[in-house]
């Protein structure tokens, strides 16, 4: 089970409280986790990744295990602690704006 922590606005949009728990087929990567997230919560499509290019939106970051994974390839394996459910994958809205 993969644990994902969403920023407050996306939790509101998806009508969830706290962490999201996802079952991910195969290897846990940013792509497979986000695919599973969007399958469970279709309203999140387009909010983290562009609909067409699948590129991460500029003001969204992905952290885990005290590392910034935002610039890792989308198919790179996530840390074992995330894959095992010991640590959550953090989707973060950048601190910017007013």
């Amino acid at each position: 089970m993969i644990r994902v922590v969403l920023p407050a606005h996306l939790r509101t949009l998806a009508h969830v409280d706290g962490e999201v728990k996802l079952h991910v087929e195969g290897r846990a990567t940013q792509r497979s986790v986000l695919d599973a997230l969007e399958a469970c919560y279709p309203m999140l499509r387009g909010t983290i990744r562009d609909h067409v290019t699948q590129q991460r939106r500029a003001f969204v970051r992905v952290f885990a295990c005290e590392q910034d994974l935002s610039h890792e390839p989308p198919d790179a394996p996530l840390p074992d602690a995330v894959a095992m459910g010991a640590e959550p994958l953090l989707v973060v809205g950048a601190m910017a704006g007013g």
Partner: protein, 371 residues
């Protein structure tokens, strides 16, 4: 008993204001979608409880929200706005070609007859339509297919399609306006478009009378006379009596002819309203006075409406989608300010009172007259 529902979009959420027909006591619900920019909300003329809202932020992009109960509850619907085919380019501020890129929905215009059909005007400028209640969106690509599209340049707010007028007497006729391209009209439901800018004069562009390239801020129509259009341009208030084929200036005695909104009285198609703003480089009211100007003659002759509005130290703006009218008798007129006030007049503008004073900066106001 009839009533009024005002749909207010702000920089930090949406608010729904309701009153009975007296329009002197208001209930305020919100913020809905707190923290998100709500560029526009609008109800279906065919089903007043069907509302649509454009919700966006720079962080998480675009959402479209739909309500089936007049704004009490909402659900996310489709947010996939993909340009048809290879998008091509328009001009950027520096004159270089720039690929079309979707940013947000500026304006939502529900069909006059079908609650599930709705048009969306977006940035970068294009017109989309949904025929399934907002679940899926398709571009009407004929507009960007117009030969001038590669020369369109953004105004200061972006290359936005901000106005959509559906002609109630001529199915298939739609007027749209783009900053800073101008007005276009289709007579075949969006397949082909023609620029409708003859008579506009803009000294800020190389050819002041160019067919395309004018910074039109807003156009308005009275449904009983859809061939008559009124326009607030970047500078100049204009009117057309031939469905946009030609325009004449009607700024008359306005203290300044810069501004954003323009609207038409619900029962008198020659009575129109504007809010003059000092200039394009200042974007606030002249002399610190909040004055709505009304013309009862379709332009040229204007009177300042000030009763109940602040007449000193007021430096707000009123944005292009932030004025609306109801269809009660007497006609109600409403507008919201960048200072967060929503003002209402229940007597066609003769006197005003704030419905609410301290919302986030108001982007849009729409009003529904309820049975």
């Amino acid at each position: 008993m009839s009533g009024v529902r005002a749909l207010v979009g702000t920089r930090k959420g949406a608010f729904v204001l309701t009153s009975d027909a007296k329009r002197d006591r208001w209930d305020i619900s919100g913020p809905h979608f707190g923290g998100w920019e709500i560029y526009h909300l609008k109800g279906s003329p065919a089903d007043p409880n069907r509302l649509y809202a454009s919700q966006s932020t720079g962080w998480f992009g675009q959402q479209i929200q739909r309500s089936n109960d007049g704004g009490k509850t909402w659900e996310s619907v489709g947010n996939k706005f993909v340009y048809d085919g290879v998008p091509g380019t328009h001009l950027w501020y520096d004159g270089t070609p720039r690929p079309w890129e979707f940013t947000r929905v500026w304006h939502l215009e529900p069909s006059l007859t079908d609650p599930d059909t709705i048009y969306a005007g977006v940035q970068d400028a294009a017109l989309f339509r949904s025929m399934d209640g907002g679940q899926t969106w398709q571009e009407l690509p004929g507009l960007r297919g117009h030969g001038s599209a590669s020369s369109w340049q953004p105004g200061a707010g972006g290359l936005c399609l901000h106005t959509i007028l559906l002609d109630p007497s001529h199915p298939g006729r739609i007027f749209i306006a783009i900053s800073a391209a101008g007005v276009f009209r289709t007579d075949d439901a969006g397949k082909t478009w023609r620029p409708m800018n003859r008579g506009l004069r803009s000294e800020q562009i190389p050819n002041p009378t160019a067919e395309v390239g004018h910074c039109v801020h807003r156009i308005a129509m009275h449904p009983s006379r859809p061939r008559v259009l009124f326009m607030q341009k970047h500078w100049d208030v204009m009117r057309s009596d031939d469905a946009g084929e030609s325009w004449q200036e009607v700024s008359g005695n306005l203290p300044t002819d810069f501004g954003f909104p323009i609207d038409v009285h619900a029962h008198d198609p020659e009575t129109i309203y504007v809010v003059p703003i000092k200039s394009d480089s200042e974007h606030y009211l002249p002399e610190g006075k909040l004055r709505v100007y009304r013309s009862r003659t379709g332009g040229h002759e204007w009177e300042a409406l000030t009763k109940g509005l602040p007449q000193r130290d007021c430096y707000v703006n009123v944005l292009r989608d932030a004025m609306a009218v109801d269809s009660l008798d007497p006609c109600g007129v409403y507008f919201g300010t960048t200072g967060g006030q929503v003002y209402a007049s229940a007597d066609a503008g003769d006197s005003w009172a704030p419905i609410v004073r301290d919302l986030p900066s108001v982007v849009s106001v729409e009003v529904q007259t309820l049975p």
